[in-house]
């Protein structure tokens, strides 16, 4: 069993298109939620979302490359390049063949699907774009990263809605820990702010009209977001041998299924994922100082997650800080777990818990310390990042300060 460390971070988010910019946004409590600017937005009832603003594909890709890249893959590649550059890895001498590429996404190339199907259903076109299928497939981001970055080891997508990225990173962690691969490029990506998808979210009746206020009294629901985050994992020995800067350590991963309701969260299922991450990491509940919550801002998630934390942590629940960065970047679905793990890793490194912004007052059903409205300087040694998906699929990662 190897110890697994992080040596590269990359992020594309509504509050910053690099990991350092994303972190500055988080630490300063920047809200990335605003008016939707997608095509046909004026026909929607929902007016707000967390878009990645001013993302100009030609800043990152040649014109010719773009015909094969949905926005979801563009985000993924940009985040992967940033993470790999920071790691300093070059993937020569057989390392490419021993590097896994595991990328989570909720729905894959939704813009391609929406654009193509609008042509056939609404505009009565008789043909769609030639690369419609390979652009929209859920494994496109993983495939595109492997091609653009020259990674020839195991590569695949992980799909589990809002937990996709956390499941993806967890699997990558297991593969590096076991020695199945030497290195992994892993994370999540999502770009599903399309007219069709927003109609779908409207029909769920779970979105807040303007802002996302997790754990707060008077919260009105979630806000859909987009973006990507990718990290580079390798063994502690290899990072030390290379003299690479170690940004944090992944120490545990836990998973569970509710086997209950399709959409309603389940305290027991959440608690089992958290407990199994702690057991995998061999840390006690009292070792944990910070939790990056799933914290969607819905009435049901936030009270249920709070109850799960109380169930697992007992009296220590009142001593730890738990915040939801979705208050700033919305819910990026299949990318959320990766964006949140990057937030957690950077928080540990900087000794700062990012805030839950938009917090207006205490809900009796949410009675923990949510780091309301302002980031807090605090030493963090061990932290968790929670992701709980529709379909009752739960995943929690445990991380520790760089050794």
């Amino acid at each position: 069993m190897h110890r697994v460390v992080v040596t590269g971070l990359g992020a594309v988010s509504p509050i910053g298109k690099t990991a350092p910019d994303y972190w500055v946004g988080l630490a300063s409590g920047t809200c990335g939620i605003g008016p939707l600017t997608i095509p046909y937005a004026e026909e929607l009832n929902q007016k707000n979302a967390a878009e990645v603003k001013d993302f100009r594909p030609l800043d990152y890709f040649q014109d010719r490359q773009l015909s094969s890249l949905d926005r979801v893959s563009q985000f993924a590649i940009v985040a992967a390049r940033e993470a790999i550059t920071q790691s300093g890895l070059s993937f020569g001498d057989g390392l490419s063949e021993r590097t896994a590429t595991i990328i989570g996404t909720g729905v894959g190339g939704h813009n391609t699907q929406d654009d193509s199907f609008r042509r056939v259903y609404r505009d009565n076109a008789t043909r769609v774009f030639p690369l419609t299928i390979p652009k929209l497939m859920a494994n496109a981001p993983a495939s595109q990263i492997s091609m653009h970055c020259g990674l020839r080891g195991p590569a695949f997508a992980v799909v589990s809605a809002c937990a996709s990225a956390t499941h993806a990173i967890g699997l990558a962690f297991h593969m590096v820990r076991s020695g199945a691969v030497s290195c992994a490029v892993t994370g999540g990506t999502e770009a599903c702010l399309t007219f069709g998808a927003m109609r779908g979210w409207e029909a769920m009746r779970v979105m807040a009209p303007e802002r996302c206020s997790p754990f707060s009294a008077g919260r009105l629901g979630m806000i859909v977001g987009e973006g990507a985050a990718v990290i580079v994992l390798e063994t502690l020995e290899s990072a030390r041998a290379r003299g690479a800067e170690i940004l944090g350590e992944i120490i545990g991963f836990g998973m569970s299924a509710d086997a209950a309701d399709l959409t309603a969260p389940d305290e027991g299922g959440m608690a089992r994922a958290i407990e199994s991450a702690l057991a995998d990491a061999r840390v006690a509940t009292t070792d944990v100082q910070y939790i990056n919550a799933h914290g969607t801002g819905t009435a049901a998630n936030d009270s249920t997650e709070t109850a799960a934390i109380r169930r697992v942590f007992g009296a220590h629940a009142d001593k730890l800080a738990m915040s939801s960065t979705k208050s700033m970047v919305g819910h990026a679905l299949g990318a959320a777990g990766a964006l949140e793990l990057v937030a957690t890793l950077m928080g540990i490194r900087e000794g700062v818990a990012p805030p839950t912004i938009g917090y207006q007052g205490k809900d009796p059903a949410c009675d923990l310390d949510y780091v309301p409205n302002e980031a807090r300087r605090m030493p963090i040694d061990v932290a968790l990042s929670n992701s709980f998906a529709f379909g009752g699929l739960n995943a929690t990662l445990a991380v520790r300060k760089a050794p």
């Binding site: 009746r205 779970v206 009105l220 399709l262 309603a264 819905t298 009435a299």
Partner: protein, 84 residues
């Protein structure tokens, strides 16, 4: 017209009920009928489709807006009247 709307609304609500209940009354609470979460969202969709109206409904505040069968009947009645 009014009785007809009430009857149609009651029929849609009845299709979502998850407990043994021979007949619905206005005072029945949706929660007691087992209509929560996704069932309520599906009920709202069925009502919108049936009456061609848009019902402002947020699942996060559902417990305060639509507590009883009567609340739903009255809301639909108002929307249908406004349309006419």
């Amino acid at each position: 017209m009014q009785a007809e709307v009430e009857q149609d609304v009651m029929a849609i609500i009845a299709s979502k009920v998850r407990v043994e209940k021979p007949a619905l009354t206005r005072d029945d609470r949706l929660q007691d009928l087992g209509i929560e979460s996704i069932d309520a969202v599906e009920m709202i969709f069925d009502l919108e489709e049936k009456f061609d109206v848009e019902i402002p409904y947020n699942a996060n505040t559902a417990g305060t807006e639509f507590r009883t069968v009567g609340d739903v009947v009255d809301a639909i009645q108002t929307l249908v009247n406004n349309k006419a």
